[in-house]
Symmetry: C2
Subunit: 358 residues, 2 copies
Amino acid sequence: MPTPPLKNDRLLRALRCEPVDCTPVWLMRQAGRYLPEYRETRKRAGSFLAMAKTPDLACEVTLQPLARFDLDAAILFSDILTIPDAMGLGLYFVEGEGPKFERPVRNAQDIAKLAVPDMETELRYVMDAVRVIRRELDDRVPLIGFSGSPWTLACYMVEGGGSANFSRIKALALNDPAALHQLLSINTDAVIAYLAAQRAAGAQVLQVFDTWGGALSPSMYREFSLPYLVRIARELERGSGEMRTPLILFGKGNAPYLQELAASGTDALGVDWTIGLGDARRRIGGNLALQGNLDPAMLYGAPDAIRTQVQRALDDYAEGNGGSREGHVFNLGHGLSPDMDPEHVGALVDAVHAHSKR
Amino acid sequence: MPTPPLKNDRLLRALRCEPVDCTPVWLMRQAGRYLPEYRETRKRAGSFLAMAKTPDLACEVTLQPLARFDLDAAILFSDILTIPDAMGLGLYFVEGEGPKFERPVRNAQDIAKLAVPDMETELRYVMDAVRVIRRELDDRVPLIGFSGSPWTLACYMVEGGGSANFSRIKALALNDPAALHQLLSINTDAVIAYLAAQRAAGAQVLQVFDTWGGALSPSMYREFSLPYLVRIARELERGSGEMRTPLILFGKGNAPYLQELAASGTDALGVDWTIGLGDARRRIGGNLALQGNLDPAMLYGAPDAIRTQVQRALDDYAEGNGGSREGHVFNLGHGLSPDMDPEHVGALVDAVHAHSKR
């Protein structure tokens, strides 16, 4: 979908490594339980899933943080596990335990039954949410669509939920690697179709979350996560020039692989806080944007301390980028937590803009 | 304490980077719940803490894995949190929730009250366990003593137990860094005294576990964890030549800091599975030993797959070490888990020796 002129196009310009008046900022999980208005909507919806599956409610919570903070993007409110849910695994939530699947996939037989869901029927609620949000956003800031990575989806699908040590999927990787590759291949097809459908529905930036790639050894990361991220970056059609929909590959623990990820052709890389931004920039060279990477726990500090941390991160980036702040999207290295103080979040957002004014 | 000749001195020779007939192996948490005989002893003891605090029982479980597997070392059975417990924080365990403290330290006032415990009174049960184990081991293999790192102890002391995001200690780091440095300084004094006392009681190798250093950003790691590890390596008296008691600094997520850690003067570095052993060897140079680093989840694979993984890790090390297997101590990148199969552990241990025969 052609993008009409945005009132605030900082994010898109930074993702194209073009000059901007100050560094754009958005925050992973910026729509979330730390906001009282989010908790209010959720109570009304009855459950997290009802909220995610009702486009008007998903739109409502997507816009909430924009009303409070001077954020440079909205991100679609949805769950990372919509794809496996649409594949029939039966996503559900147990209070305080995170996502679970009623029917996890455990072996080659389970995997053989999986198929890429139809995006405009089985995942229509996501595309409808994108359309409603775009309408309500009215081009104030761009809308980011997203998906879990093939490996990260596979982790939940095989483990049946979160996991401390990924025992089931790692056993599958050792005992039947062909079956796991089959699963990752289907997931990759689904992720590409899912992101393309979000783009067609109006998403102006796309991010892939490889939350669990960092749990792998280098040889397993290069076998089971990296090649599928590369395939997404290569095969996902996203236009060109000002009409291009940039792709951000975010990964927890991806620091050792930044050069390989940069070579994928992605428009941007998102990194966590275990690498300095200057180092990260030096590793990937200057042809793509970098997103990150304050430790979200810094938000537990006092506002003055948060401001100092923001300034250091901005300066670290510039130091590794030949003194320039271009090509940087400010974010946390992971999502916001429910016990964080909205005032501290506001202090962070304002500090990013204030300290990066050109 | 002078070390009498050991029947199996592979570990000590490997830690001195001397030739050995095959690569030595021991496993973090090798005495643990995955062994039925351990669960039996624990039932008899009544609780984990009773077992750790009764030297004869600590000795019993320390020796259990040696009766089953051809391991090249015993490691003292104890808890990582004995020091803060002796400082008066009140260590206790809630089934399924890990360690907790009745009286966590939260601010400068709490920290000002802390003192280094007396090793031969308040931690006498640990030293007695070392003495009993040395007697019962009868010099078959060396005994490894250990401590948590200053930062890792501080995490538990401030959080009051385990933590998902280290919100309290990171807030302290931002809001009152001087108080946190005071805590880390006391912890470092205590760790040095604790390891020296274990050495005096008979421990022949010493390991520091920096389990949570990897949760820090590079600038915070270099401020709050690294300098205290360096102080331990510099200040802990450990003899010279064949009488030297080698020190191993193990850290989860320490890959980005290996060169700085190697420069500390430690005898060996232990790494987790997020870096290849060949890479790790190239980064630290050839003057100290390297310990690691199979992903413990590989033990969920079938024995044949485990053997392949062991061979790859051994060969990766040699490839980064100019073709030589010297200076390598085989281990996992983290501890064994209760749901692991003892037969798989045996397959791993035997594979290390078989594939590394000189």
